[in-house]
């Protein structure tokens, strides 16, 4: 047991890790790191959320800047849908729809995110940045 530990120790000093990496290997490692960073820059670009776009029957009824907190009432065939805007995010506060899906979606903060109150024909979309996604739904 002690002998094998000794052997392992002497082997570790005989083959230090940095000696096992050859000059070209460093080049490949650097290239791989650049590739990883580039893919992150390319695929993780998100842009800032700038506006909340509210539509009724497909027509834009309001574009609200996400810098000013406010609420907005939108009239639809079933009643009034209330949109709330806070700093950097927006949500559907209340909606006359039976299943409340768009209300339960909560705050939307990323460009492309969308809450759809289909029964009342109201939609809320976050716009801004480069628009990395057409739409995001969960």
């Amino acid at each position: 047991m002690a002998r094998s530990t000794l052997a392992a120790l002497s082997a570790a000093t005989a083959y230090p890790w940095h000696r096992l990496v050859r000059p070209g290997d460093w080049l490949v490692l650097a290239g791989g790191a650049v590739l990883t960073a580039a893919s992150a820059a390319l695929f993780w670009q998100q842009g800032a959320a700038e506006r909340a776009v509210v539509r009724q029957e497909g027509q834009v009824v309001a574009e609200l800047a996400l810098t000013v907190p406010r609420t907005l009432d939108v009239a639809g065939p079933l009643g009034t849908t209330v949109i709330a805007v806070e700093h950097g995010r927006a949500r559907v506060m209340s909606d006359p729809g039976p299943r409340q899906l768009c209300v339960r979606q909560g705050w939307l903060a990323r460009p492309g995110e969308m809450a759809l109150c289909a029964p009342n024909r109201v939609s809320l979309t976050i716009a801004g940045g480069k628009g990395a996604y057409d739409t995001l739904a969960y």
Binding site: L20, R22, D25, L29, S39, Y133
Partner: protein, 186 residues
């Protein structure tokens, strides 16, 4: 060795067949170890079995490495109950992409490019092949590419470690006098 009974077709086996079988068995064992290591994200795995592929590539060439890799994917998936499941096809696509990349990589000058290069490039090709198949077949949506930086970083990390281990094993074997593990001990 029992002599083949009448009606049995015996396939003549050369020493190379036994060697590939032995190395593939080692790779399959490591693949099973790999499978039980918990992973934060499906697809991020150390890929320990590739250490065997790398050593085989340097020692016995690309053909042997392809055999060991292929046998490991098929037999490993059989043992894990994954054969012909989506995971099997992803593993096969990854292994195929790795082998395609390793063919030219094996011809690079040894003095400048060691097992670490082969390991990192094969690991990157592995995730490339897997993501491509996943994008074309399993999840046909461009949102999949959001995972690429994560997989790429993992490939870089584990590829480097596996390459270092393979380089160490090869350096130790080259250094010589260490006798092979004596059979009477076990």
């Amino acid at each position: 060795m029992a002599s083949p009974s009448p009606g049995t077709v015996a396939i003549p086996l050369g020493p190379e067949d036994y060697r590939i079988a032995r190395l593939a068995a080692a790779a399959i064992g490591l693949a099973l170890v790999d499978a039980v290591i918990p992973s934060p994200l499906p697809g991020v795995k150390p890929g320990l079995a590739n250490i065997v592929t790398l050593v085989v590539l340097v020692r016995y060439g690309w053909g042997a490495a392809a055999w060991v890799s292929g046998l490991r994917v098929v037999a490993g998936s059989l043992l894990l109950g994954q054969f012909l499941a989506p995971g099997f096809f992803l593993a096969a696509a990854g292994a195929l992409a790795s082998l395609l990349v390793l063919a030219p990589v094996a011809r690079l000058p040894r003095r400048w490019f060691g097992p670490v290069t082969a390991s990192v490039l094969a690991a990157l090709a592995h995730i490339g092949g897997q993501l491509l198949l996943a994008r074309l077949w399993l999840i046909p949506h461009d949102g999949l590419w959001v995972l690429l930086p994560v997989f790429s970083a993992a490939a870089l990390f584990f590829g480097t470690i596996n390459g270092l281990i393979a380089a160490r094993l090869l350096a130790e074997a080259d250094a010589g006098p260490t006798p092979p593990p004596s059979p009477e001990k076990s």
